[in-house]
Amino acid sequence: MASPLLYFDRDARLLDRLRKGDEEVLAEFYGENRAVITAYVLRNSGSQEDADDMLQEAVVILWERVRSGRYEHTAKTSTFLYAIVKNLWSRRLARKRRELTGDTDPDDLADPGGSPLESLMETEQAGEVQQALSRIGEPCRTLLLLFYWEERSMEEIATRLGFANADTAKAKKYQCKKALERALKEVA
C-alpha cells in the first residue's frame, strides 16, 4: 500500500516509517516520552535506570505490534507507551514485594514484564536458544529472526535475503531450523 502524500497526524507518519523498518523512529519515540515516563516511575518508587528499562521495553512492544500489524492507531503513541509502562511497572513492583516477603508466585514465569533481575531470570532454555542462534551464522540467523520474530512471510524473506522464490526460502528455513536444533544440543 502506497503511503499517503501528506500526514495530518505526526504519529501516523512515524508509525508508517516504523512499518517500513526505520528504527530511528524508536529513538524518537524514546526521546519524546522519556520525561513523562521518568516522572511516573520516579514517583512510584523507581529509579532513572528503571524508567529507561521500562521505556525500552515499551518501545520494543510498540515495534512488535506495528510490524506484525497488530497495532491499532486509535490513540496517541505516547498514550500507548504510557499505558504499557504503567502496566509493566505495576507488575514489577508487585513482584518485588513478593520477593521481599519471600512469597512465591506461579505467575512469575508467565509475567513478561522484565526488571533487571527478572530479565536475567528468564527461562534458561530460551537463553540457550539465543546462544545457539548466535552460533549458526548467516543467513540462517537472520532468516529465523525474520520468520519467528518479525513474522515475515516466505515471499518477503525470499526478497530480503535474495532467494529465488518462497519455496527456496522455505527449504532454507528448514535447513536453518535443523542447524539451530543441532547448535542447541551442543549448548545444552
Partner: protein, 422 residues
C-alpha cells in the same frame, strides 16, 4: 485432522505456534494434542525455539536502540548482574535452607509515598552529614593520625560496579582522601594491617599534611563552635581540646596519645572480633606475574524455576563461598577483564589436569596493577553476552567468584596459586 500427527508438518507447526491459524483449524489441531504425547513434545520444542528466537530479536533491537541513544551496554549489563549478586546476598536464605532466618530477615513492604520522597531523602542526607561531621571531628581531635578501618570495603560494596571500577584501580595501596586529609593503610595478603600508628611517630617526622591538619582542625572547631554550639560542646570533650585547656606539654601529649592509641587498638580488636567483618586482603598478590592456572568450580543456578528460586540459589552459593559473613558486606567487587579461549588452546598438561576435574573451568588468572585478567578455557564457549555480564567478587581471603547468568565459578587461590606456570 484429529487423527493425524499434524506436528510433522513443519509449516503447520510454525503457524500454530505463531498464532496464524484460523480458530476452527486451531481447535482441530488442539484436539489431537490431547491424545498425542509425541505431538505435544514437538509442539513444546517449537514453542521453545520460537520463544528463544523472539527473545534474541527483542534483545538485539533493544541493544540497537541503546546504541542509538548512546547508552553504554557493557556498563548497563554489568550493573544489572552486580545488582543481582548483591540482591541475592542481601536476601534471606531460601526457605528450604532456613525458614526462620528468612522470616527474620524479611523487609516490611510499605506502599510508595507520593510526592514526599524528597523530604525524607533530604532529612536523611542532613542527618548523615551531621553525624559524619561529628564523627570525623571527634576522630581528628582525639588522634593525630587518621585511619580508615574497613570503610574502603564498605564503600566498595555499597557502590555499584561501575563506580567501583575507579576505586579498584587504586588497589593495593588504598588511600582515603578527604579535603586535604590523607589516611594511609597497608594490608598484607593475609589481611593483617601494617599501618604504623602515628602516635608512635616523632612529631618532627610527621608528614606536612598531618601538621596542616591541626590548623585546619582549629579553624573548623571555631567555625563549628559559632554555628552549632551543641556540636561544638560534644567535640570539646575530645582529648586534644582537654590538653589545650590544661596546658599539657608536648612530651606529655605524645605519651598520652600513645596510651590512648594502644587502648583504641585493643578496643577495636575486641569490637572486630565481636561483630565486624575482617578486611579482605588484596586479591592476586600471590599470583605469579605470568599468570596462575586454576580450576574454577562451577555451580549452576536454576534460572528456569522462577525469580525467587534463582535468587535464593545465587545467594546460598555465594554465602557458601563466603567465609564469615552472610551479607553483601563480605563481598568486594573486583575490577576484572574476562575473556575465553577454546580448551584446545590451553597447555597440554593443563588440559590433561582439567579432564580429571568434573564441572570445572580451566582458567589463567593474571593481575596487573589495577585489574585481574581472567582467561577462561571452558569446554564449550560461553556466549559473548554472558561474558559481558560477568562480574567478579572476592568473597573470602583466598576465594574469588565469577558470577555469570545461570552459573557461578569459584576459584580458591590459596591451595593452587603456587602451581607453576608451564
Amino acid at each position: 485432522m484429529q487423527n493425524e500427527h499434524w506436528t510433522l508438518d513443519e509449516e503447520l507447526l510454525a503457524e500454530y505456534v505463531l498464532g496464524r491459524l484460523s480458530d476452527s483449524r486451531r481447535e482441530a489441531c488442539a484436539s489431537h494434542l490431547a491424545s498425542c504425547a509425541e505431538c505435544r513434545r514437538r509442539l513444546e520444542d517449537e514453542q521453545l525455539l520460537a520463544a528463544g528466537v523472539q527473545r534474541a530479536g527483542r534483545e538485539e533491537l533493544k541493544a540497537r536502540l541503546r546504541e542509538r541513544l548512546g547508552i553504554d551496554e557493557h556498563q548497563r549489563q554489568g550493573a544489572v548482574l552486580g545488582k543481582v549478586a548483591e540482591e541475592a546476598m542481601a536476601a534471606p536464605y531460601s526457605r528450604s535452607a532456613s525458614r526462620k532466618e528468612a522470616d527474620e530477615s524479611r523487609v516490611p513492604v510499605t506502599p510508595p509515598r507520593r510526592g514526599r520522597g524528597w523530604i525524607y531523602a533530604a532529612a536523611t542526607a542532613a542527618c548523615v552529614v551531621i553525624v559524619t561531621g561529628i564523627g570525623i571531628l571527634n576522630r581528628w581531635w582525639s588522634r593525630d593520625a587518621l585511619e580508615t578501618v574497613s570503610s574502603e570495603q564498605k564503600i566498595a560494596v555499597a557502590t555499584p560496579p561501575a563506580a567501583q571500577a575507579d576505586k579498584s584501580s587504586r588497589e593495593p595501596s588504598v588511600a582515603h582522601k578527604e579535603e586535604g586529609v590523607v589516611a594511609y593503610r597497608e594490608e598484607g595478603v593475609d589481611g593483617s594491617r601494617k599501618a604504623t600508628p602515628s602516635s608512635t611517630r616523632d612529631q618532627a617526622t610527621m608528614p606536612a599534611a598531618e601538621t596542616a591538619i591541626s590548623k585546619k582542625e582549629a579553624e573548623r572547631y571555631d567555625v563549628l563552635k559559632q554555628e552549632a554550639p551543641q556540636l561544638a560542646d560534644e567535640v570539646a570533650t575530645s582529648a586534644d581540646v582537654r590538653a589545650k585547656a590544661t596546658n599539657e606539654t608536648d612530651a606529655e601529649m605524645r605519651a598520652r596519645k600513645a596510651a590512648e592509641a594502644d587502648a583504641d587498638a585493643r578496643a577495636e580488636g575486641r569490637s572486630r572480633r565481636k561483630d565486624a567483618t575482617p578486611p579482605l586482603p588484596t586479591v592476586g598478590a600471590a599470583l605469579a606475574e605470568k599468570g596462575t592456572w586454576l580450576e574454577g568450580e562451577t555451580t549452576y543456578i536454576r534460572m528456569d524455576a522462577g525469580a525467587n528460586t534463582a535468587r535464593n540459589e545465587t545467594g546460598n552459593v555465594l554465602r557458601a563461598a563466603t567465609e564469615q559473613a552472610r551479607s553483601a558486606q563480605a563481598m568486594r567487587h573486583l575490577n576484572a577483564t574476562i575473556e575465553q579461549r577454546p580448551l584446545a588452546e590451553a597447555p597440554a598438561l593443563r588440559q590433561q589436569q582439567r579432564r580429571q576435574q568434573a564441572q570445572s573451568v580451566l582458567t589463567n588468572i593474571q593481575q596487573t596493577d589495577s585489574t585481574l585478567r581472567l582467561t577462561l578455557y571452558p569446554d564449550s564457549q560461553l556466549s559473548e553476552r554472558d561474558l559481558r555480564q560477568a562480574q567478579v567478587y572476592q568473597v573470602a581471603a583466598d576465594t574469588i567468584v565469577v558470577v555469570l547468568p545461570g552459573q557461578m565459578i569459584r576459584y580458591r587461590m590459596g591451595s593452587q596459586a603456587a602451581m607453576p606456570v608451564k
